[in-house]
């Protein structure tokens, strides 16, 4: 009896040991075979904030997924690479991340110039890629540039132009502002964004006259001559697509010329916390879009996300790029779960038209539009600056129905559809 029991236990032990032995390689494989996601951005140089504030949002999302058991049972291993803002380097890094480092998914947190280069690499390699920082519309709007496995989780220039045009026309009509000037950085983004803004401003208010256009160099230390040129033109309103450090310098230099009391100023990129907090004497009354504001949308989820970002990042403020990258990881997570695979084609099919919960939307949900692989329904609106927190008040959300309608017309006029 004793012997039999011992024998039975022995058999159970053997069976359990066998099961464990069979399971071990799977566990070991899961631990030894992490899901590598290649993340490239600009981590050095004057616009390193692009990369650092992207990473500041990406890493907590990955930590959250890993703490909950990973994705498809595999721990996510991010591999960060610095492209230094050079498109050729961005393309090389993307290829290396997939071919050498074994990344199965790319999160391209490059600026637009780099994103276009990465797009062509993705076309060749066929991996799932989410562009998280490029706002230049043609990347996903132009069917010639579109790639089956590439998506955009960033806001889009044409969306901002439509909402900005509608809001600015409303303010311009109320304040009778017909004479305008512009001041934007002298490269593709600045010129395209300004042209699109004026196009939609004139759509809503046709009697706009542009008296002066200034094109300072990106990263220019001094805007004095551009500011004085604007003052000489005596416009009633000014639009500027300057952003980040350039915008901060422009506001500080404009202040000494009392520029902001001489005309109504519209600056879409003003509503980003690093700018708002860096400008020491923020003029009241600037019309600004939201880039990232913890107060817009005014929800507990958004405020909590903003607070968590600061807690995770030495009290640094999140940027527009932060929420775009948080969104990228959430879409990757949802798509891979839905597809049950990291295969580029399968995950892309799952991502097309996918809607997820999001703190960055006035409706609580954002969607990856199937037809052009771009993000819609995110929070987009304009408000008015005040010198102290919350810095931008009276936010008016854009109308996504109107955005969709005018975006379609814009695509038609550009031959995209």
């Amino acid at each position: 009896m004793h012997d039999n029991k011992a024998a039975r236990l022995g058999r159970r032990t053997v069976l359990a040991a066998s099961a464990a032995a069979l399971a071990m390689p799977a566990v070991a494989r899961a631990q030894a075979n992490p899901l590598k996601i290649g993340i490239q951005s600009i981590f050095s140089g004057p616009i390193a904030l692009l990369g650092t504030s992207s990473r500041g949002a990406i890493q907590p999302e990955i930590d959250r997924i890993n703490a909950a058991g990973g994705l498809l049972g595999r721990q996510i291993q991010p591999i960060y690479r610095d492209s230094k803002g050079q498109p050729q380097e961005a393309a090389r890094v993307a290829r290396e991340l997939v071919n050498t480092d074994g990344c199965e998914i790319l999160l391209d947190a490059e600026a637009s110039s780099g994103a276009y280069a990465v797009q062509e690499v993705v076309r060749d390699l066929g991996v799932l890629c989410v562009h998280s920082n490029s706002e230049t519309s043609s990347l996903t709007a132009d069917p010639k540039l579109r790639v089956a496995t590439a998506f955009r989780s960033a806001r889009q220039g044409v969306h901002d132009a439509i909402v900005g045009g509608a809001h600015s026309a409303k303010v311009a009509t109320a304040k009778k502002l017909s004479k305008w000037a512009t001041c934007s950085p002298d490269y593709a983004f600045g010129r395209d964004t300004t042209a699109q803004f004026l196009e939609f401003l004139k759509h809503f208010k046709p009697d706009i006259e542009v008296l002066s256009q200034g094109w300072p160099k990106l990263g220019a230390p001094d805007f004095t001559e551009v500011i004085t040129k604007i003052l000489q033109a005596k416009p009633q309103a000014l639009y500027s697509a300057l952003y980040a450090g350039d915008l901060s310098a422009f506001v500080n230099q404009g202040n000494v010329y009392a520029l902001f009391s001489a005309m109504q100023v519209f600056v879409p990129a003003m509503g980003d916390l690093p700018v708002l907090t860096a400008v020491k004497n923020l003029p009241a009354g600037i019309q600004s879009a939201n880039r990232y504001l913890p107060t817009f949308p005014a929800t507990a989820e958004n405020a909590a996300w903003g607070a968590a970002y600061r807690k995770n990042n030495n009290n640094d403020y999140p940027t527009n790029w932060s929420w775009e990258n948080s969104t990228a990881i959430r879409f990757i997570e949802a798509a891979v779960k839905k597809a049950g695979s990291t295969d580029g084609k399968k995950a892309a099919a799952a991502l097309e038209g996918l809607t997820i919960d999001s703190p960055f939307s006035t409706t609580g949900k954002v969607t990856m539009r199937a037809e052009d692989h771009t993000l819609i329904d995110y929070a987009i609106g304009w408000g008015t600056t005040v010198p102290k927190e919350p810095f931008v008040i009276d936010m008016e959300p854009g109308d996504w129905g109107q955005i969709a309608e005018l975006e379609k017309e814009w695509k038609k006029s550009n031959g995209y559809i």
């Binding site: 904030l49 001559e225 310098a249 500080n252 860096a278 400008v279 020491k280």
Partner: protein, 300 residues
């Protein structure tokens, strides 16, 4: 090209006043950086590609001092003093080892310092940009002179830059140490043979060059964004100034910087899409017609 707008501007007192003061302020800050660059080249024949870094560090030191003490003057002085010390260390530890060496070697050392300092700034102050903000004493409305807009802060900057530039010029021309520096620029071996400590002299030149760039960084900090790598763009323009003015000529640097500032301020009205190009055209014309620069034969 908008020649009508340019003509309207030069015949309008308000535009003339506004754009001239705008050109002067751009030019004077440029002069302060370029003066140090040209001084170092004049005496040591070193093309200091790290000079923009002095400007950047001066601005950051001024920013932190201002944040700590609330005094703009202390901030500017700390920026200048800090960079004078940094200039001496830079010269003694690195540059002194490549005197007479290939220019490529000097370039590599300077470039390495630029990259190291950019990264150090990121570690110490972070990758975000900063703005000092206008000191309370200058938070005043602009003056209107003949219809033109002139900010009091910029008048102060122009005066301070002129005083520093004038003081430097007088020191080099009239004082004993100035004469020794000029002599060293002509014939360093003879100066050394006369028993003068050239090691100390060279360090002093780097200290003065660094101090000028640091002061410029500190003076400009209230109106410019502080970012890692901010010294690069001003370095390029400073080189244009030194090339036009003549490598080694302080007076040439002053005139070239003011000319460049005026090209920018009036060029942005008449040639809005070609303002940068105008600066380089001016440089090419000088290089072709007078390769040594406007005052190139004057050494210091």
């Amino acid at each position: 090209m908008d020649l009508d707008a340019l003509l309207d501007c030069v015949t309008s007192s308000s535009c003339l006043v506004t754009q001239t003061t705008s050109g002067l302020i751009v030019g004077m800050l440029l002069f302060m950086v370029a003066a140090g660059l040209t001084l170092i080249f004049g005496v040591l024949k070193i093309v200091n590609f790290a000079h923009g870094t002095f400007y950047m560090l001066g601005a950051y030191i001024a920013y932190s001092t201002f944040a700590f003490t609330g005094s703009y003057i202390l901030g500017v002085l700390a920026g200048g003093l800090g960079m004078a010390i940094f200039g001496v260390i830079f010269e003694r530890v690195l540059i002194s080892r490549v005197y007479g060496a290939n220019v490529l070697m000097q370039l590599l050392i300077c470039y390495a310092v630029v990259l190291i300092c950019d990264d150090l700034v990121k570690i110490i102050w972070g990758p975000d940009f900063y703005a000092m903000g206008m000191p309370p004493e200058f938070q005043v409305p602009p003056l209107f002179i003949a219809g033109g807009v002139v900010p009091p802060f910029y008048i102060m900057l122009i005066v301070v830059a002129l005083v520093i530039g004038g003081g430097l010029g007088l020191s080099l021309g009239l004082t004993k140490i100035g004469k020794i520096i000029r002599a060293a620029a002509h014939n360093p071996n003879m100066v050394s043979a006369l028993g003068i400590n050239t090691t100390l002299l060279y360090s002093l030149v780097f200290a003065v060059g660094g101090m000028l760039a640091g002061l410029a960084g500190g003076l400009a900090a209230p109106v410019r964004s502080l970012t890692p790598g901010m010294g690069f763009s001003i370095l390029i323009e400073s080189f244009i100034v030194t090339v036009i003015g003549g490598m080694g000529s302080i007076g040439g640097a002053l005139i070239a910087a003011v000319v460049l500032g005026l090209i920018r301020s009036f060029g942005t009205i008449g040639f809005p899409l070609f303002t940068e190009g105008l600066m380089y055209i001016a440089m090419i014309i000088i290089l072709v017609t007078k390769p040594s620069g406007l005052f190139g034969k004057e050494i210091v």
